[in-house]
Amino acid sequence: MARIELRALAHRYGSGPYALKPLDLTWQQGGAYALLGPSGCGKTTLLNIISGLIRPSEGFVLFDGIDVTDRSTEARNIAQVFQFPVVYDTMTVRENFAFPLRNRRVPEATIRARVAEIAELLDLVDVLDRPARRLTADAKQKISLGRGLVRADVAAILFDEPLTVIDPHHKWELRSKLKALHARLDTTMIYVTHDQTEALTFADQVVVMDAGEVVQAGTPEELFERPAAMFVGHFIGSPGMNFLPCVVEGAHAVVGGHRVPLGAGYAPPAGAALHLGIRPEFAMLAAHGVPVTLARIEDLGRTRLARCELAGKPFVATVPEGFAPDSAAVRVAMPSRHLHLYADGKRLQPIAAAATEAA
């Protein structure tokens, strides 16, 4: 049970480039966090630094305000579940679960109770006394999970893409169980994944990483509605956010010769590459707005998406119910409160809002 702070933390392997660029981040006690990003973006490095498997080359790790940067994994009291199953071959499932507790000299009665509880939770009661090596990959990963969850007093539980080897049907079930467990245990959980669905359904707070950098940390709604960077807009949502190169004239963006009202004034830095961003969910085909060329309509069941072209760039918009375009020349409405302006990939604050947020 701890609040985890990372201060001016950075890491490089050997003398190579930064695997993790300098960052400051706080994980509140009891939070359910997801670390989301493409493969190789530094998620696992960050996780291993928190658990103490890797010592950061720069900066500090604080648990409840105490510097633990130089403390061993054991001393930090962290549980971690890895991407691929780790089971102790010579032991039974029960002994596997009990192993982390025995190593810490927990009383036998407590061990028995905890093991029974975890086996129940993971549906492994029937195989408790079977040798662990004979089980399927699914079951083995559940054993790894169980060993992570069995200790009651941990500062945090870290999951490194724990459901990679689990089949899709069980994935959903296990994720809900983890979520329920989090609600019950009040333990900080950090869940690393490259799958946005996993991240958005598991976590209260999602930390998006790209190329060794934390791009945005926020609730799933914030990530969806106000992506702080073009990367987040692309990475989260399916399909991702639309981005259109533009120029800004006061409170208007000019895209391919069409003026789009932004609803607020912006002061973009001179010389920056500007993009106008809008989620397909909020861009509606309509009778008025910016003219686009319709390529085709995809029916996704609940919604229909229009694949269009706007000023030579692909653009995805939602087709409102009952809307039947009669030709390829249609128009798209972009409500100004869902429009975001990006300078060199980063989101710009409108002038008025920037003033109030700064105050």
């Binding site: 291993n48 994994t73 971690q80 691929f84 780790v86 032991m91 982390p100 190593n103 090596r133 060993r147």
Partner: protein, 295 residues
């Protein structure tokens, strides 16, 4: 679907059959032939039935006594070799570096003794352990401990065992190291997270993962030490007395020293059968373990 059946295809096996017969079957059968006959020279042979075998397997006869003495020596030697080399090899493998240039350096160093011809190993140790001019022998004598492997059976055994440990522990270490390298890092990380002690990491992770290669190492080392000939032949020639006369040395003495072809042939066959039997036991144990893992 009808498959064409042409029995002439069997003719294709003939060359292999010919080579195997020439190189293995015929020499082996010659030995079997000698083992049931006696000769008084002049290339004249007499049928002796199982006479040589019953003499060999009866410890009260001269031949049988020699054989059983040599057999116990062999078994004792193999037992000592295994109890030293296997734990030592594992210890060496555990203390080897896991990455960087040191890996290649230590692998090359370890492989070195394995590349030295066996009679050269014998010669090196013969000189090294000499009480008068050998570095080891002279040093031990200099400490006030009498050490002379040509006269003292204990000293001879100690020298042969040290020589074999020096020569072959590398093999066990290399095999154990290969087993260790097959363990993914995640296992060590998980063990650290689980708070496992170094001893439990060894018992619960490393040893189980090394089990298969260690079985192979034990098999190889048993076979090799049970068949040892060259090094003790060069070092002690089987002496002092008969104290380091292993079966192979006795066999050569019987066949080439005394020219007792019948006795030597019977001894060869029994020696061979012992090794085959031990091989079979190891093979069965290994395959049964594998089958259990799969089940």
């Amino acid at each position: 679907m009808d498959r064409p059946v042409n029995n002439r295809a069997w003719l294709l096996v003939l060359p292999v059959l010919g080579i195997v017969s020439f190189s293995a079957l015929i020499p082996l059968m010659t030995v079997v032939n000698y083992s049931v006959q006696d000769t008084f020279g002049n290339n004249r042979f007499f049928w002796n039935g199982l006479g040589w075998f019953s003499e060999l397997l009866d410890p009260s006869t001269d031949q049988g006594g020699r054989f059983f003495d040599a057999l116990w020596r062999n078994l004792l030697f193999s037992a000592i070799i295994l109890t030293i080399q296997v734990p030592l090899g594992i210890a060496v493998a555990l203390s080897m570096p896991r990455s960087g240039w040191r890996v290649s350096a230590s692998l090359v160093l370890l492989a070195m003794p394995l590349l030295i011809p066996w009679n050269v190993v014998g010669t090196i140790w013969q000189v090294f352990a000499r009480g008068d001019i050998g570095l080891l022998g002279a040093a031990v004598n200099g400490l006030g401990i009498p050490f002379n492997y040509t006269q003292d059976p204990i000293a001879a055994w100690v020298t042969i065992i040290m020589m074999d440990v020096w020569h072959w522990t590398s093999l066990v270490a290399l095999l154990a190291y290969a087993g260790l390298r097959s363990i993914p890092d995640a296992f060590y990380q998980a063990a650290r997270i689980d708070g496992a002690s170094a001893w439990s990491v060894f018992r619960k992770i490393q040893l189980p993962k090394m089990k298969r290669v260690l079985l192979i190492a034990v098999l190889l080392r048993f076979m090799d030490s049970f068949m040892i000939y060259t090094e003790p032949f060069v070092l002690t020639g089987g002496g002092p007395g008969n104290s380091t006369t292993f079966i192979s040395i006795d066999l050569v003495k019987t066949a080439l020293g005394q020219f007792d072809l019948g006795k030597a042939a019977a001894l060869s066959i029994v020696y061979n059968l012992i090794i085959l039997a031990v091989c079979w036991v190891f093979y069965t144990v290994m395959t049964r373990n594998d089958a259990r893992d799969v089940a």
